[in-house]
């Protein structure tokens, strides 16, 4: 009798010890009785270990992600592994069959397509497409190859085509229905950004490249509709009709207006001191693009309005993705901001960095909403789906520390997270 009590008590006492965020230690599997009793215990530990917000959000959003996400994510790793493996500290849903090399871009399908489809371009020269179902399951659908690493990808407005930009100096248009891809653009250097522009009187693809040009392509013609010169290599761009923002090397920053035909609207003095890394346009309350967020390699994001009533007050920068807060005067570690995405409904933004964390911010209240736990790899890309319910982020090496830290064997991940609750803006007092 005593022996039985001893044995049954052990798994339960073992449960509270794991620190928040670490998976529960595997229950001793020496007897069947133990296993039966041990099974509910990790579940309880999980609920304790996972942050309150996530679990409550998940439970309320049954329609989207079904039951507790813990079992969805690599369920075996919870039970089987003994090492505290940090590849998914946020316990988010892992996308099945992720790319074999670092992920350079993520994009969700537009609202015109029923359901959610996610594409990811990677340094393994491929772009993959998954269907993301409401219960959180991801089904790999198709894949296309380039002859060089894929740097950017985007959807057309009707959701039937995917455009991909690659280091092989071309951009391709992938028709998802027929699963055929044809080349639609050619540059003299790797194409870094690609966006679909849908204007009332024209539609085209905009490609930005390291050959210092911005070209606009009608997909039916091999010559560009228009070529605009950039002061330097294009590093990142974003398009929200009728505005396009392009950030280049040497801290160049240009805004274009896209009505009638694309033309340069303004060259802006960079509000940041270092290399530009990512840019994202945000909209105002009436859904018109009104400014952009610009991230640099120096752990800083600048919010810049195009025509603010009071530029000195309205434009600001904030520091992010740095280590050890402000406690000592110890030198901080500063990480690059790899991606910025705005929530389509709330207008709050998410940033992902080389430190392996993502953060949510409210730019109007100028506060941070949440910072994630640190993943063991940098987060190289992120995006929201069309209604803002899903936040996808990719965990893979971004070369921020050079080739020595590149491990081709290390698995890359794409995680999906429920984003409806955590990105609600703070109420301004």
């Amino acid at each position: 009798m005593r022996e039985k009590q001893l044995r049954t008590r052990r798994p339960q006492s073992a449960v509270p010890t794991p620190a928040a965020g670490a998976p529960a230690p595997p229950p001793p599997l020496c007897s069947r009785r133990l296993r039966r009793e041990a099974r509910p215990a990790p579940c309880a530990a999980l609920r304790r270990a996972v942050s309150r917000e996530v679990s409550s959000a998940v439970r309320t959003r049954m329609s989207l992600f079904g039951s507790t996400s813990g079992f969805g994510t690599g369920g075996t790793s919870m039970f089987g592994s003994t090492t505290a493996d940090n590849h998914n500290p946020m316990k988010d849903i892992e996308v099945t069959s992720p790319p074999d090399d670092s992920i350079s871009c993520l994009a969700f399908s537009p609202p015109t397509l029923p359901g959610n489809f996610l594409i990811a371009g990677s340094w393994a020269n491929d772009v993959r497409c998954w269907e993301v179902q409401d219960n959180g399951q991801t089904i790999p659908k198709a894949q296309q190859m380039h002859t060089g690493p894929v740097l950017d990808g985007c959807w057309s407005d009707d959701g039937s085509k995917v455009f991909t930009a690659s280091c092989d100096k071309t951009a391709k248009m992938w028709d998802l229905n027929s699963n055929q891809a044809i080349q639609i653009a050619q540059h003299d250097a790797p194409v870094k950004t690609i966006h679909w522009i849908k204007a009332p009187n024209y539609s085209c693809v905009m490609t930005g490249s390291w050959d210092k040009t911005l070209k606009f392509w009608d997909t039916r013609s091999p010559t560009p509709m228009m070529t605009l010169q950039l002061p330097e290599r294009c590093y990142c761009a974003d398009v929200v009709h009728p505005m396009a923002a392009v950030a280049t090397a040497e801290r160049g920053l240009i805004v274009y207006q896209l009505e009638n035909q694309p033309s340069e609207f303004r060259r802006i003095e960079s509000p940041l001191k270092h290399q530009h890394r990512c840019v994202a346009i945000f909209k105002d309350k009436v859904n018109k693009p009104t400014g952009f967020a610009l991230g640099s390699i120096e752990g800083r994001v600048a919010i810049h309005y195009i025509n603010p009533p009071n530029p000195a007050k309205d434009n600001f920068t904030f520091k992010c993705h740095r280590s050890n807060g402000t406690n000592t005067s110890a030198p901080q570690d500063i990480y690059a901001v790899n991606g910025i995405a705005f929530h389509p409904v709330h207008g709050t933004l998410a940033t992902v960095g080389s430190d392996g964390r993502f953060s949510f911010w409210d730019k109007d209240a100028r506060t941070k909403l949440k910072t994630s736990e640190q993943l063991d790899q940098p987060i190289s890309a992120c995006c929201f789906n069309h209604n803002g319910n899903i936040f996808a982020y990719a965990s893979s090496y971004d070369w921020s520390k050079g080739h020595e830290f590149y491990n081709p064997q290390k698995k890359n991940y794409i995680f999906l997270r429920n984003a409806a609750e955590e990105l609600k803006p703070r109420n301004k007092k």
Partner: protein, 413 residues
């Protein structure tokens, strides 16, 4: 709290958990006996903050300086110095500036900028952030010269291309060269002397007119990467320029020249388009051996190719006056020698290069006739269009460096 003695030696095993105090600044001291390699080394303050995952401080000190395999010793020496320098520097920096301030005659605004630059350099060095980035002390100011800008994707693509050709060694060498360049420029900016400050301030004020520096050497190039293109036979071409192969010497120069000499790859470095590749080499060979004989025959010069203005050789003169390699030009003043050694890519350097150039004509090097003048500056009328263009460009294009001294009106004096 008591100060942790082990931490001061760089070997506290408790790290963040330690009950004693770990004073910052004291932790910057290197510990050579401890494991020096990248992942997890007992590198004092740095490793203690990060038990696992990404370890930027270790990265920035140890492996990034050396090559991938033999990172040990060179890594140690690399992080010895910046570690020390930053520790000492942060302790002395403000005292040096405050004492210099009244004597310098800089306005508050300018002083603020200089302080800002110095502070930012210290942060940049210690933070482990991406090093191939441009920099400007304030939003709205132009970029400070001397920093090459590459994005992580460009560097990664080079690595992938190189490993496809089994050329990773070249990649590693080029990257190391760039790192060295960056480090040199950073150290320079952290400890500016008077002439350096002058030039920096004039650069920063000169807001509009500076064209965005094209990568290195006048490169408007098809393959825009501008990475020192991996010379297929770097040794042979290097030899032709009497280049003591030293990674810290103006790296872009050597590599670019190497590539144009090899001429088997389309020169990605922007030394104009390929049909004219033999020309720069040819003219480079004939017209610049004098330049080469004193420009490249040095070791450990600071600031390599990037700097315009006086800051480049201001400090290198100090650094090199003692370490001059045996030169045929003994008659030139050491300042001029120092300047010419710092790589012929600043306008003023060209001036003294021209000056000492004609001293070299007396020496038995195969120098063509163009340098016979004794003037310090050439009037514009005497310059060809190409030379004028070179003087007006932000940087010299290798192989086209004019031999005549620049016109006086183009110089910042």
């Amino acid at each position: 709290m008591t100060i942790c003695q082990f931490f001061l030696q760089g070997r506290c095993r408790f790290g963040d958990r330690c009950w004693n105090e770990h004073p910052r600044g004291g932790g910057g001291r290197p510990h050579s006996a401890g494991p020096v390699r990248g992942a997890g080394g007992g590198w004092g303050a740095a490793s203690q903050r990060y038990a696992n995952v990404i370890q930027p401080p270790i990265f920035k000190h140890s492996t990034w300086g050396g090559s991938g395999d033999g990172g040990g010793f060179s890594g140690a020496s690399d992080f010895g110095s910046p570690g020390n320098k930053s520790a000492v520097f942060s302790q002395n920096r403000f005292s040096a500036l405050s004492s210099a301030h009244p004597a310098d005659g800089f306005s508050d605004e300018e002083q603020r900028l200089l302080d800002c630059v110095a502070k930012d350099m210290a942060t940049w060095e210690s933070s482990g952030q991406w090093m191939f980035s441009c920099y400007s002390p304030e939003a709205g100011k132009p970029n400070v010269s001397g920093f090459r800008e590459f994005s992580a994707e460009e560097v990664r693509l080079e690595y992938y291309n190189c490993s496809a050709n089994n050329n990773t060694e070249n990649y590693i060498n080029s990257v190391n060269q760039l790192v060295q360049e960056w480090r040199n420029r950073l150290q320079e900016l952290k400890a500016l002397n008077a002439s350096g400050k002058e030039s920096l301030l004039s650069q920063l004020k000169n807001a509009v007119t500076q064209p965005l520096p094209s990568l290195g050497f006048g490169g408007q190039q098809a393959s825009s990467f501008g990475f020192p293109s991996f010379p297929v036979s770097s040794s042979s071409s290097a030899a032709s320029f009497s280049f003591k192969a030293n990674p810290s010497v103006p790296p872009g120069n050597a590599a670019a020249v190497g590539s144009s000499a090899a001429a088997s790859n389309p020169p990605t470095f922007g030394v104009t388009s390929s049909p004219s590749v033999p020309n720069p080499v040819g003219s480079g060979n004939s017209s610049a051996p004098s330049a080469a004989s004193f420009s490249f025959k040095t070791s450990g010069t600071t600031s390599g190719c990037g700097t315009s203005g006086l800051s480049g050789f201001g400090s290198s003169a100090a650094a090199n006056s003692s370490s001059t390699a045996p030169l045929p030009v003994s008659a030139t003043p050491s300042a001029a020698t120092g300047t010419s050694q710092s790589g012929a890519s600043s306008a003023s350097a060209a001036q003294t290069a021209g000056a000492s150039g004609h001293n070299v004509t007396s020496a038995p090097s195969a120098v063509p006739n163009g340098i016979a003048s004794d003037k310090l500056y050439t009037p514009r009328s005497e310059l060809t269009a190409e030379e004028l263009e070179q003087f007006e460009a932000k940087r010299f294009t290798l192989g086209k460096i004019p031999l005549k001294p620049p016109p006086i009106d183009l110089l910042y004096l």
